[in-house]
């Protein structure tokens, strides 16, 4: 039985779309401009890609979307939910109130209903004090009708989530089952402020995620496509719509991740360095076991410090539209600004008057784009110097993200990757896979579904082996919840870190399980 899938990924300059067949082979690929509202660009890309193929539309069974809606909403402070922020942990933590350290304009949006309640746990699971349930009831009645989303963070909830779960029950009892509740234990790890920020941001973009999902499903339905829809998340796996509207924050930074996953799929390499060159920036990441290596540092989103998993990336301001300037002292300055999507008007090879990196490679005969005669009179020696500087920028960035001096395979993807040569310092080999320009959309289309847990366990209670098994089972359960086929699950990542200075062999364990999508039954919609 024929089955096809659409993959769409929103980039800063272009929204890319692909259709893959049941064997994950690319049937067609397209690029459309990214629009300011993002959604229009997605719908256009979807219509464009289906117009390129001649297949029965009912055979498109899956649609995978990697979008920037949630990131944009946070960065632009637009369309955010009205959120109640509840922290459980008093009398501890009063010295650093919620949203401290977050930029004022974001605090103005999210800091209207902030509460600190008695409760929370110690590092070993003991209660700091029992949960003040009366206070939670009071808060619930107070915010009724004023908020549409609630963020709950309890001290050491990664060790014991009980106070968060009980508070959520009370909130739903008073505000109704339909109220969106975000629990910090399901979003981040140890590190109260960062986890709390991530939870509040998650609560703030619930409506944006819902509207995005509804809009996309409707647009598909209008074309007669009744596919099961998934969202790409920043660890390179998929979420069902139900999951995505509960944990929309995980869609942040899914774009670079999709590129990495696509690069892995297109080359068959599971461990490599991936360079994604777009119109404005170059993102460099590392594949470990076919998944992006995750950052160990805290990550800022819209100016708020968070600690949830994010791909480890080095970004530099070098893309196909990057502007090249020669300063008065003869020094060459490359970027960081770019003409972006206006390259076809402003670039010299297109008759414009701005010298861009694309013009440099065309003038040097390294690519054929636009009209090469328009740049034939440029100083060749100078161009060579500019080119050498561009390559060096990338080589320095490669060196920064690597963990050892050992050369690694390098995969070039993204429309702008034609800028780069076939040999790079630090690369054992340089690969340019077919369909490299839309690796991100392919990455979205081929993604698996995963479940992850990250908790602090006391190994003294059950021993290391049993504890790890328990953690694995929990990760499998999460993956199945997210839509994975229970018969095809794999553990793709295990990390256990003993916590210094703590007794009971306290260890933080993080496990991720991933698997292919569970078969969609014939005719099943969303």
């Amino acid at each position: 039985m024929a089955n096809y899938r659409i993959g769409i990924d929103v980039g800063g300059t272009h929204t890319d779309a692909v259709i893959l067949d049941a064997n994950y082979q690319v049937v067609t690929e397209t690029k459309s401009p990214t629009t300011e509202d993002v959604s229009t660009g997605i719908y256009q890309a979807m219509r464009k890609v289906i117009s390129h193929v001649n297949i029965p539309l009912e055979d498109i069974r899956y649609a995978m979307l990697g979008t920037t809606h949630c990131t944009n909403a946070i960065v632009e402070r637009k369309r955010l939910n009205s959120v109640a922020v509840i922290r459980i942990g008093a009398p501890a933590t009063l010295a650093v109130k919620p949203l401290i350290g977050v930029p004022d304009d974001l605090k103005d949006h999210l800091g209207k209903f902030v509460y600190l309640v008695r409760g929370g746990n110690e590092f070993d699971g003991r209660e700091i004090t029992s949960l003040d349930e009366d206070e939670i009831y009071k808060i619930a009645h107070e915010v009724k009708g004023l908020v549409d989303s609630v963020a709950i963070t309890s001290v050491f909830s990664p060790v014991s989530p009980k106070h968060e779960e009980r508070a959520a029950e009370i909130i739903k009892e008073v505000l109704g089952e339909e109220i969106a509740v975000s629990l910090s234990s399901e979003i981040g790890s140890v590190g109260l402020l960062e986890r709390e920020n991530a939870t509040i941001l998650n609560a703030a973009v619930v409506n944006v995620a819902k509207a995005t999902a509804d809009g996309f499903v409707n647009a598909l339905n209008e074309e007669g496509i009744h596919a099961k829809v998934f969202f790409g998340q920043n660890d390179g796996t998929l979420m069902s719509i139900d999951y995505a509207v509960k944990y929309p924050i995980f869609t942040v930074a899914c774009g670079p991740t999709n590129s990495l996953r696509g690069a892995s799929y297109l080359t068959g390499y599971s461990d490599a360095l991936v360079i994604d060159v777009g119109g404005t920036t170059t993102d460099i990441g590392i594949l470990v076991n076919s998944f992006p290596r995750e950052s160990s540092l805290s990550v800022e989103i819209g100016g708020a410090r968070t600690n949830f998993r994010m791909p480890d990336l080095v970004s530099i301001g070098l893309g196909g539209g990057t502007i090249v300037r020669i300063q008065d002292n003869g020094e060459i300055k490359i970027g960081p600004d770019s003409v972006g999507y206006q390259l076809p008007e402003k670039g010299m090879v297109f008759g414009g008057d701005t010298l861009t990196t694309t013009d440099v490679i065309v003038a040097l005969g390294k690519a054929e784009i636009g009209d090469p005669t328009l740049v034939k009179d440029l100083d060749k020696e100078l161009l060579k110097k500019i080119y050498a500087q561009m390559v060096e920028q990338v080589e320095v960035a490669i060196d920064k993200i690597k963990t050892s001096a050992e050369p690694m395979p390098v995969i070039l993807v993204g429309g702008g990757s034609i800028l780069l040569p076939d040999q790079l310092e630090g690369a054992s080999t340089v690969l340019r896979p077919e369909n490299f320009g839309v690796a991100n959309a392919i990455g979205a289309a081929i993604a698996q579904v995963s479940g992850q847990i990250e908790k602090v366990f006391s190994l003294d209670e059950m021993g290391r082996e049993k504890t790890l098994q328990l953690a694995k089972d929990m990760a499998f359960e999460e993956a199945v919840k997210a839509g994975a086929d229970p018969d095809q699950l794999n553990i793709v990542d295990i990390e256990d870190v003993p916590l210094a200075y703590l007794p009971g062999n306290a260890t933080r364990i993080r496990i991720k399980a991933a698997g292919n999508l569970a078969e969609v039954l014939d005719g099943a919609g969303v």
Binding site: G89, A90, P91, A92, T93, L94, A95, V96, K97, I100, G101, G120, E122, F123, D124, I128, T129, V155, F156, V190, G191, L192, L193, D399, K400, I401, K402, T403, S404, A405, P498, L499, A500, Y501, L502, P503
Partner: protein, 366 residues
């Protein structure tokens, strides 16, 4: 006397990270506590050491326990009130001011948060001039000031006052109690009078941190590297410019111990630097010679921004400038070197002042 506001706190936090010499804990949460306290209680009074009366009771304050616990279970801010009250009852005297026990890292900022809440001034002085991992590694100890009576206090309202026969016992008992109290507590330690403080403390250390932080901030605005300004402020020397090519870590006896190797860049092309660390950077040497040794300060700075790099932050490919700064003369005594010199940390290297080592290097090359 002057007042410390939010900008000063931001600058001090950057300077504290630099004088933390790679360790000392991330000042971030301490900074947030201080900023919130200023928002609630207004700017904090900072005293010069000379403004403290000889018989006034000054009590250093800070945190004890696991930083991983503190970043999850942040303090209530009320802990110090209980701690100071217990001490006042025991000593029969009112606390006049507080101060940081160590200027490097997290503990440099906590006294500001506590002081604001208690309405006390902070004194511009500390007992290390940097960060060190153990309770006795303070200049007060060199002059015979006792760590006890010390009080540890948790957010629940529990306090524990210790009077021990020596500092080893103080450390041992306090650590055990800390775990029972939840893994991270506030402490008031080394209570002393103004006279002791003037003799044994390291003066103007917070002002120095503020200047360092400000220099880095201004340089960033102008898009320059602030290394030169930092060297001027600290009488420091640039030891090496290079990139990290290897980091070898072991966790032993609660310390993040290890060695990092840097490959030279620019004027150090072709050379290699070895950095030895145990929480803090302790020794910097090339194949040919030693460049800087604890208790002198070794800081690793990001070559682009001048921002300090912690020992955990050292990773392959990081481009750094390593600088050496002379420690306070109090550390350069026999007892000082015995307390926190290379021998104490288990390295078979003799201590020699960084400026001597640098001068010698110039002679060899010249």
């Amino acid at each position: 006397m002057r007042y410390i506001g939010k900008q000063e706190i931001e600058d001090i936090a950057v300077g504290a990270a630099l004088l933390g010499t790679g360790g000392g804990g991330d000042p971030y949460i301490g900074k947030l506590m201080a900023l919130q306290a200023i928002e609630e209680f207004g700017p904090i009074k900072l005293l010069d050491v000379d403004e403290v009366p000889d018989d006034a009771l000054v009590v250093p304050s800070g945190m004890m326990g696991a930083p991983t616990v503190m970043i999850e279970k942040a303090p209530s801010g009320e802990e110090a009130i209980g701690a100071f009250k217990s001490l006042e009852e025991y000593l029969g005297k009112e606390v006049y001011a507080t101060m940081p026990i160590e200027a490097g890292g997290l503990n440099s900022l906590l006294p500001f948060a506590l002081a604001a809440r208690l309405g006390l001034p902070v004194v511009d002085v500390d007992g290390m001039g940097r960060a060190f991992p153990e309770l006795q590694m303070v200049t007060f100890y060199l002059d015979g000031v006792s760590a006890t009576p010390l009080v540890i206090a948790d957010e629940k309202g529990n306090t524990s006052l210790l009077k021990t026969i020596n500092n080893v016992w103080a450390e041992r008992i306090a650590r055990t109690s800390t775990i029972e109290m939840g893994g991270s507590v506030m402490m008031a330690i080394y209570p002393m009078n103004g006279r002791n403080l003037k003799e044994s403390g390291i003066h103007h250390i917070l002002a120095l941190e503020e200047q360092i932080g400000k220099a880095i901030r201004l340089a960033k605005q102008e898009g320059k590297a602030p290394i030169k300004e930092i060297l001027q402020l600290t009488n420091g020397h640039e030891l090496f410019k290079g990139k990290v090519i290897d980091v070898n870590r072991k966790t032993e006896t609660g310390f993040a111990r290890g060695t990092a190797t840097l490959e030279g860049l620019d004027s150090n092309l072709g050379q290699e630097l070895e950095l030895k660390f145990q929480n803090e950077h302790l020794i910097a040497k090339t194949k040919e010679r030693v460049l800087c040794v604890t208790p002198d300060l070794i800081a690793v700075l990001d070559a682009e921004t001048g921002l300090p790099v912690t020992t955990e932050g050292l990773r392959y490919g990081a481009r750094c400038v390593v600088i050496g700064m002379p420690c306070d003369p109090k550390w350069r005594t026999e007892k000082g070197i015995k307390t926190c010199g290379p021998g104490y940390f288990g390295y078979d290297v003799d201590y020699r002042p960084v400026e001597e080592l640098v001068l010698e290097g110039v002679k060899t090359i010249g």
